[in-house]
């Protein structure tokens, strides 16, 4: 067994040392009737690295990788080019195989990185403080709602209809058990978000309004207006962002008045990975809310010689100290994904992020214009960043499947996201990034045209 260093000689010597004659003497506390005799029946025995690699490669090859097709999927997971140096760095054993930095004297690598990460996220979101990451955007979204209920001591959340349906579902699932009230609705398929309807739902019991920016249809809601309405009722605005690259081109939610900004960080550095692991981002605009934040926080301090250093801090909020009184049961975070995000963001910098965003937007505009010229296709959005909704004169789910058979990954049908909403069946989300070529756009347009004729 290539991962097990004990030799049979070692095992004998060690058994003698511990005073056991067989290994099963060490398992005496396991009731004999439950103890398994030999390897579990019906499972294969150990295999060589070559055999395992081959098996996994065969499975991998049964998937159509995004690089091998014109690719237009988004809806909360975006394909961007990740520089090779990002993957190099996260594979450094000192980062990859370290634990949570509970011993700060020998974990400054992870801690300084987290401090830099927190600062990058806070700046990107236009906030004062960000935490050291959460599981993903959807769980961060629920944590924001939970935090808003703690801050406002109210227990109702108003969700925009244009919040990612998975996020909505996670919030509703959690609330079902905590007893919070969630007011949600489906998105209205219109060129612009329905702010009026949303604002009308805010009342004096509302802890927070949750708005996605850009929203699930790719539209850009006016957060300022909503923030004002929410604040007028004593509620907080929770802004949710699923495409951080967008914030290189549009104003930050914090700047527009959001109180808590959460989102998915996957687009920077992390990659698609069939949906996980991803990276939850969480920030607050007002530093006074810090002690109500969930998750780990890294802070600056000094060591006994006065040197700057970093530690996990304010852990009195956390479960391992507070137990049942913790702000959240979250424990593990997404450290390695946070590192990938931070390295990629460092490579980008202000200039790179802005150029990346501009390039995404440029290509998305080209795609929208081109698809609008396909007979039977209407572009819904008035505004968008790198993703927009089209309506087609057909069942979009079927069209997506048919195009996939031709090797074109055309986007995410609303029918996939909202199977219960019949009227969405003609709508398709199309995402365009810097990895999309103009040739890809043309291929999609032609394939759509054929499918619709």
């Amino acid at each position: 067994m290539r991962y097990l260093p004990l030799t049979d000689t070692d095992r004998s010597e060690m058994l003698a040392k511990v005073g056991a004659s067989t290994i099963d003497d060490l398992f005496v506390d396991v009731p004999e009737e439950a103890r398994l005799d030999g390897p579990i029946h019906g499972l294969p025995m150990h295999a060589s690295e070559m055999a395992v690699e081959r098996h996994m490669r065969l499975l991998s090859k049964k998937n159509l990788a995004a690089a091998d097709a014109p690719f237009f999927l988004g809806a909360g997971a975006y394909r961007h080019h990740v520089p090779a140096s990002v993957d190099h760095i996260i594979q450094r054993g000192e980062f990859l195989t370290a634990y949570t930095p509970y011993q700060p004297e020998i974990a400054q690598g992870t801690l300084q990185m987290l401090f830099e990460f927190q600062t990058q996220v806070a700046k990107l979101y236009g906030c004062a403080v960000a935490n050291a990451s959460m599981y993903d955007g959807s769980t961060a979204c629920w944590e924001a709602v939970a935090m808003a209920t703690r801050v406002t001591r109210r227990n109702k959340a108003v969700l925009s209809g244009a919040l990612h349906p998975h996020y909505t579902e996670v919030v509703k699932t959690m609330a079902k058990f905590t007893g919070d009230t969630i007011a949600d609705s489906s998105p209205s398929i219109q060129p612009s978000p329905d702010n009026v309807g949303l604002i009308a739902r805010i009342d004096e019991d509302t802890a927070c309004v949750v708005v996605q920016y850009p929203d699930i249809l790719g539209r850009i809601p006016d957060l300022t207006e909503i923030a004002e309405a929410a604040h007028a009722k004593g509620a907080l605005l929770v802004a949710v962002n699923t495409e951080p690259v967008a914030l290189g081109a549009i104003k930050s939610p914090g700047e527009l008045g959001a109180d808590i900004v959460v989102g998915e960080g996957q687009a920077i550095g992390v990659g698609l990975q069939f949906g996980g692991p991803f990276l939850g981002l969480f920030a607050v605009r007002d530093p006074k809310h810090v002690r109500q934040m969930p998750g780990r926080l890294c802070g600056e301090t000094v060591d006994a010689e006065g040197k700057r250093g970093f530690v996990l801090t304010l852990s009195t909020r956390e479960q391992h100290i507070r137990r049942e009184k913790a702000t959240s049961n979250i424990c593990t975070n997404s450290g390695l994904c946070a590192l990938a995000f931070s390295v990629h963001m460092t490579l980008l910098g202000e200039k790179g992020l802005r150029r990346l965003a501009a390039e995404n937007h440029r290509l998305a505009c080209i795609a929208a214009d081109r698809l609008a010229r396909v007979p039977g296709v209407t572009v819904l959005n008035e505004l968008f960043f790198n993703e927009f909704t089209i309506r087609i004169e057909a069942d979009a789910r079927q069209v997506v499947r048919d195009l996939a058979d031709q090797g074109v990954l055309a986007g995410v049908s609303l029918g996939r996201l909202y199977p219960q909403v019949e009227e969405f069946s003609d709508s398709l989300l199309v995402a365009v990034t810097e990895t999309t070529s103009e040739e890809d756009i043309e291929t999609l347009a032609v394939a759509l045209e054929e499918a619709l004729s």
């Binding site: 991962y3 159509l64 690089a67 974990a107 690598g109 992870t110 959807s138 699932t173 990975q273 460092t346």
Partner: protein, 501 residues
């Protein structure tokens, strides 16, 4: 050389990516186009690689040495797993691609699910929870959903004193009232006390087995039977499953729900704090309530992904909801499956045996020197527990731990479990050689002797780490959680003063 922050060495005009400057084109951003700067520093690739390489060297890691954190299971992370996770068919696929284009990904989920079910003897598995604590929540929510489905509104969850902090936090989160159950002097759950507390208000008991004292709960089956008889469910914290994988199946002990930390038992990397992955195996009673998405093989042998849209087709109509977007930690599934296939059924059994042997070897090599409160009651499982009894006045477990840093080791888990004073929980894992254990034991004996003898110099340890002891109080009292442009030194004229007439 100290490593500065990226904010101190980067520039807004510097970038490590080559992207064209876009001349102003038509924009569909309306009035939302950003005009303020963000304030993000950039570095070129050479600077970036160097910054993070140098930072990394201030970390301790399993690749550098033994990492004896009890209850954290810092074992070797095989490099094959990293290679597999990066295969394009796994790394570069979108979670919402049509199912026909991701058959292999679905097979990975299913194949791993089958292994987990067979290894635990359970009935169903929710693969999507993102980490152990998330899995706990999933399990408790299944229990709540099952109870609600039978109209049984119970309010209490019983948790032993020695439980992981996440256990009570999870139960509280699910709106349960948490009550502690005491341990007996053996370090195990007091069965009689538990039985006495059971009743129609008890929804569940959360038990860690092997427990946080590193001991197997001998009475597990009796506990389960009693809980079931009282109409409750048994949640087992599976963080320590590595000690018993292949030796005993939790399903055979009456467990209803258990999360499995893929990053512990199945070797996926911790990455400085995550990501984790916490699939939850469920008994037949709880399976109908498992959250979406889940995977199931239909009669024709083809794997299907059941999501909101098609759960009904697969008869999974009582799901309690959704724990997260998409399908869970795919990148961890590919790694864990590679690890499991590498070991096979025989190898996994050996894993448990070697992990337990290594822990007992440490226990027996130190019990003459360090207080080992439960050593007399028999063998430990995968971790050895010591207390600070006998330390010289003024010296603490913390001092010993910091002194161990100077010996080249990461300290063990300290002050946990709470039931032992000055607890030190040592988990060597199965991926350490005897030579490595012997060297560690010698180092630990050395610092233990100093602690017993009252070596005051330990109070200042570590001396040889990248940092001396850090001031955690200051960090918490005046939190500095983000970098800020330093104020100009006092006396420096401001721009307006400089230019002022």
């Amino acid at each position: 050389l100290e490593e500065p922050l990226i904010f101190e060495i980067g520039h807004a005009e510097t970038t490590g990516v080559d992207l064209p400057e876009i001349s102003e084109g038509r924009s569909r951003l309306g009035s939302f186009a950003r005009n303020e700067t963000i304030g993000l520093p950039g570095l070129t690739e050479p600077e970036t690689v160097r910054h993070y390489t140098r930072l990394s060297r201030q970390n301790y890691a399993i690749d550098l040495g033994l990492f004896p954190l009890g209850s954290c299971t810092m074992k070797h992370n095989p490099r094959l797993n990293e290679k597999v996770a990066r295969m394009p068919g796994f790394a570069d696929v979108h979670p919402l691609q049509p199912q026909g284009t991701v058959r292999g990904a679905l097979e990975v989920i299913n194949e791993l699910a089958e292994w987990l079910l067979k290894l635990t003897g359970m009935h169903g598995v929710a693969m999507s929870p993102k980490a152990g604590a998330h899995g706990e929540l999933c399990g408790i929510l299944c229990i709540r959903a099952a109870l609600e489905a039978r109209g049984d509104a119970r309010e209490v969850v019983l948790v032993p004193e020695s439980a992981h902090g996440t256990n009570p936090a999870t139960a509280a989160f699910a709106n349960y009232r948490v009550e502690n159950i005491p341990a007996n002097e053996d370090g195990r759950v007091d069965l009689e006390a538990l039985k006495a507390r059971l009743g129609p208000d008890v929804a569940a008991v959360m038990i860690t087995n092997p427990n946080t004292c590193g001991l197997f709960e001998r009475d597990m089956k009796a506990i389960s039977d009693a809980v079931h008889e009282a109409g409750g469910f048994v949640y087992c914290d599976g963080a320590n499953f590595n000690a018993i994988v292949g030796k005993v199946r939790p399903g055979d002990l009456g467990v209803d729900a258990m999360h499995i930390n893929l990053h512990k038992t199945f070797s996926t990397p911790h990455g400085g704090g995550g990501p984790g992955s916490g699939p939850v195996v469920l008994s037949e009673a709880l399976s109908p309530f498992g959250p979406l998405p889940f995977t199931a093989r239909t009669a024709d042998g083809v794997v299907h992904l059941a999501e909101e849209e098609n759960a009904a087709e697969f008869g999974h109509t009582q799901a309690f909801g959704r724990m997260t977007a998409f399908h869970g930690q795919m990148g961890m599934f590919t790694r864990a499956l590679s690890y499991i296939l590498s070991h096979g059924a025989d190898g996994l059994k050996q894993v448990a045996e070697d992990a337990v042997l290594n822990a007992n070897y440490i226990l027996r090599s130190l019990e003459d020197l360090l207080d080992a409160p439960f050593a007399a009651s028999g063998p430990c499982m995968h971790e050895a527990l010591f207390g600070d009894q006998g330390f010289a006045e003024g010296l603490s477990t913390l001092d010993l731990a910091k002194a161990l840093i100077d010996e080249g080791y990461h300290p063990m888990t300290m002050y946990f479990p709470l039931v032992v004073h000055g607890a030190m929980l040592v988990e060597p894992t199965e991926t350490e050689s005897k030579a490595s254990l012997d060297q560690f034991i010698a180092a630990l004996r050395g610092v233990a002797e100093r602690a017993l003898a009252g070596d005051e110099s330990m109070k200042q340890a570590p001396y040889y780490a990248p940092r001396r002891r850090l001031d955690e109080t200051q960090a918490a009292r005046k939190p500095v959680l983000a970098w800020h442009e330093p104020a100009p030194p006092a006396g420096t004229p401001t721009l307006s003063e400089q230019g002022g007439s």
